[in-house]
């Protein structure tokens, strides 16, 4: 016999949890009391439950393992919603444990009660409310299994107080036996051979690669396929690093801010082979204009991703590793010389590029290029969301899977800082860099303390443009340059915001350098382009937590851009 609380910790140990990110409270206090006794689980205390989930999420993205977090009931649980939704959108395996009021109190509006399963149902892959302590061993095993198999995703276990206190002798089951959960791994042999013959007969094939390839550990097989059949490759934001961008067949990222060559190739190819991508609207733009000349084949583990937003001529449902393994021997070795050359010409004609700052300020794109140069391409980049995220996608040559972590599907500002912390904990020897904005940095700023107290050598790079830049860009492009709610400096706020620049306040608040120092991190503000590389070098060579604030050109825009709902012919290349 052991208590439910004990059983939770045993369950975590059994499934191999090495790190738990958690925040305590009255309704989960029993489990924390047991956690102390664990010899194998490292505990990390973030300063906000959203941080806990993002850390566990990025830990999972960086390592390929399941991330674990634990929070209390009510406000603790509701604080996880953004984190769970972030992980759910990007298919990240997580197990989140939440405290709950006793089963006898549920429904009574008890202190710190929230209907956590109800609230998180649509932002998790699955969730459990454990009503009987005897179910707990099974639920622990099931949650872990569901999180990491099929299309991975977050699973929440809601643990009422009386279940934590109750006692059970039920052992952990060895096998998973839910009849309703049987992801198909094999891929239909007939579909696979039809795909092979489509590939063998295509003149202008294109591999369109999504995050699923990284999740499935199939990057090597993908490269084999691309080289064997001489097929150009474009990746989504989620798949950056899945195929080396220095490979001549790489057309880099596609989509709204993708490389023009990639979007051209999508519109001109005669066979689009989607591998673990889900045709997000940030990739497709106007659906009817997407790959108009192509047959579309879609390999995915998630049947519901197929045909959801874009027509599909040939579906293959299965695990990418299994499917690609079966596919490869059936694909003929061949060359598509003229097609590949055409793609390379597009790439040469329109590389990612930017104009210098009119005032000689640091260009944010330049900072990203220097991260690449100074780290020798070795940095793991965890981004926040906004312009900096897109620059990091465009101006760093991504060659390694699990080295570009970003909230792609939900686009969650505030992911970057807790994310880089989770990544660094999972990959101790790795240079881990966070690229964030002056907006995003303030969304989960409190987590800086975690990096410092755990002596994590993370480098937090703030691209400070004084704006919520991404939105400011849209306002300039599509809303008559009216900067409603996007100015972060004292000057230049619109009338309705009632902020008059006052001489006794600095033009810009907060002072990130002082703030970083208050948390015990080393910090520096950089305003001149020639100081960028030396500052990066100093920070990268030093094991301390570093916050580098780059004062960058305020008006830089992410280009090229296919406006929302548009197609490649609508691409905006230049804007000022």
């Amino acid at each position: 016999m052991r208590s439910g609380a004990r059983c939770v910790i045993e369950g975590l140990e059994k499934v191999g949890c090495k790190v738990l990110f958690g925040y305590p409270g009255g309704q989960i206090i029993n489990v924390f009391a047991e956690l102390i006794k664990s010899r194998s689980i490292r505990f990390v205390l973030p300063r906000h439950e959203q941080g806990a989930v993002h850390m566990a999420d990025a830990y999972a993205r960086a390592t390929g393992e399941v991330g674990f977090c634990m929070v209390t009931s009510g406000p603790g649980a509701t604080n996880t919603v953004t984190g769970l939704a972030t992980a759910n959108m990007d298919g990240v395996p997580l197990v989140c444990l939440s405290g709950q009021v006793s089963t006898t109190m549920i429904g009574n509006d008890a202190f710190q009660e929230a209907d956590t399963c109800g609230i998180t149902r649509s932002v998790t892959k699955h969730n459990f409310l454990v009503r009987d302590v005897n179910d707990l061993p099974r639920v622990m095993v099931e949650a872990y299994h569901i999180a990491r198999t099929g299309k991975p995703g977050p699973v929440l276990i809601d643990l009422p107080k009386d279940v934590q206190v109750g006692r059970t002798a039920v052992p952990f089951p060895d096998t998973f036996t839910r009849v309703g959960y049987r992801p198909s791994y094999e891929g239909h042999p007939k579909m696979i051979s039809r795909l092979a013959s489509l590939i063998n007969s295509a003149d202008r094939p294109l591999l369109y690669v999504g995050g699923g390839v990284i999740a499935a550990g199939a990057c090597g097989l993908l490269a084999e396929l691309a080289h064997k059949a001489d097929i150009p490759v474009t990746t989504t934001l989620m798949a950056l690093g899945a195929f080396p961008e220095t490979d001549p067949l790489s057309l880099c990222m596609c989509g709204m801010h993708g490389m023009i060559a990639a979007n051209m190739a999508i519109s001109e190819c005669d066979l689009l082979i989607s591998v673990g991508a889900r045709f997000d609207d940030r990739v497709t733009g106007k659906v009817s204009g997407f790959a108009p000349n192509a047959k579309i084949a879609h390999i995915d583990i998630d049947p519901s991703a197929i045909g959801k937003s874009v027509r599909c001529d040939l579906p293959v449902v299965g695990h990418l590793e299994v499917v690609l393994k079966a596919l490869l021997p059936q694909v003929r070795e061949q060359k598509h010389a003229s097609w590949v050359e055409k793609c390379l010409d597009w790439k040469k004609a329109d590389p990612f590029s930017y104009e210098p700052s009119p005032s000689g300020a640091i260009m944010p794109q330049y900072v990203i290029e220097q991260i690449d140069a100074v780290s020798g391409g070795k940095a793991l980049i965890c981004t926040d969301v906004g312009q900096g995220q897109m620059f990091a996608a465009q101006f760093f040559r991504h060659n390694t899977p699990r080295n570009f972590l970003s909230s792609g599907g939900l686009g969650t500002m505030g992911f970057g800082l807790p994310g880089v912390i989770g990544a660094q904990i999972g990959r101790p020897g790795q240079l881990c860099v966070c690229v964030t904005g002056d907006g995003g940095m303030q969304m989960n700023l409190q987590e800086l303390v975690v990096a410092v107290e755990h002596k994590l050598p993370v480098k937090v790079l703030i691209l400070n443009n004084g704006y919520l830049g991404n939105v400011r860009q849209w306002q300039d492009m599509f809303f008559g340059r009216v900067h409603s709610a996007t100015v972060l400096t004292q000057d230049g706020r619109p009338e309705n915001e009632h902020i008059k620049a006052s001489p006794d306040l600095p033009a810009y608040l907060p002072d990130f350098v002082k703030l970083a120092e208050a948390y015990g991190a080393k910090a520096r503000r950089i305003s001149a382009p020639e100081d960028v590389a030396p500052a990066l070098k100093e920070a990268f060579d030093d094991p301390s937590v570093w916050v580098l604030e780059f004062i960058v050109e305020p008006m830089s825009n992410v280009l090229p851009m296919i406006p929302p709902g548009g197609s490649v012919k609508d691409t905006i290349r230049r804007f000022s």
Partner: protein, 169 residues
Amino acid sequence: MKTADNNPMKQKHIINATVENQPGVLSRIVGLFSGRGYNIDTLNVGPCADPMFSRMTITVIGDEHVLEQVTKQLNKLVDVIKVNDLTSQRYLERELILLDVAAPRNKRAEIMEIVALFKASIIGVRENFVTIQFVGSREDVEDFLRVLRPYSIMDLSRSGLLAVSRGAD
């Protein structure tokens, strides 16, 4: 591509879903429909022959594309065991309705006659109205209601559709 309101291909589909008989499953399914903007027309839940499972009969309005997504999304739920779109198969369907119809003395005989013709039954009689029970297919129910409409229907309760598959064609 989702619910195209003016899409002529929009039609009613009957889906039978076998699910685990557990608390929370109904809300998961209803939540899936509302969250993804699918329209439920009717929904029925009851235990299966094996009480471990429940059977849900759901009628959905939408085109082929919506239906395909509904089926796939339902299948993705961990507690859904099996999803069966009956529309493409042979199946039997029934709906039960209960209705109060105004029945003053001078109309009573006519109403009784309609009830008899449709093999419905009168399960309650009051001074001014009768309560009628009728079981039939969607079409039967519509026919029955059309015929009774001139007689002032005071109250109407419909069970929604139940259906069983008779196997593939």
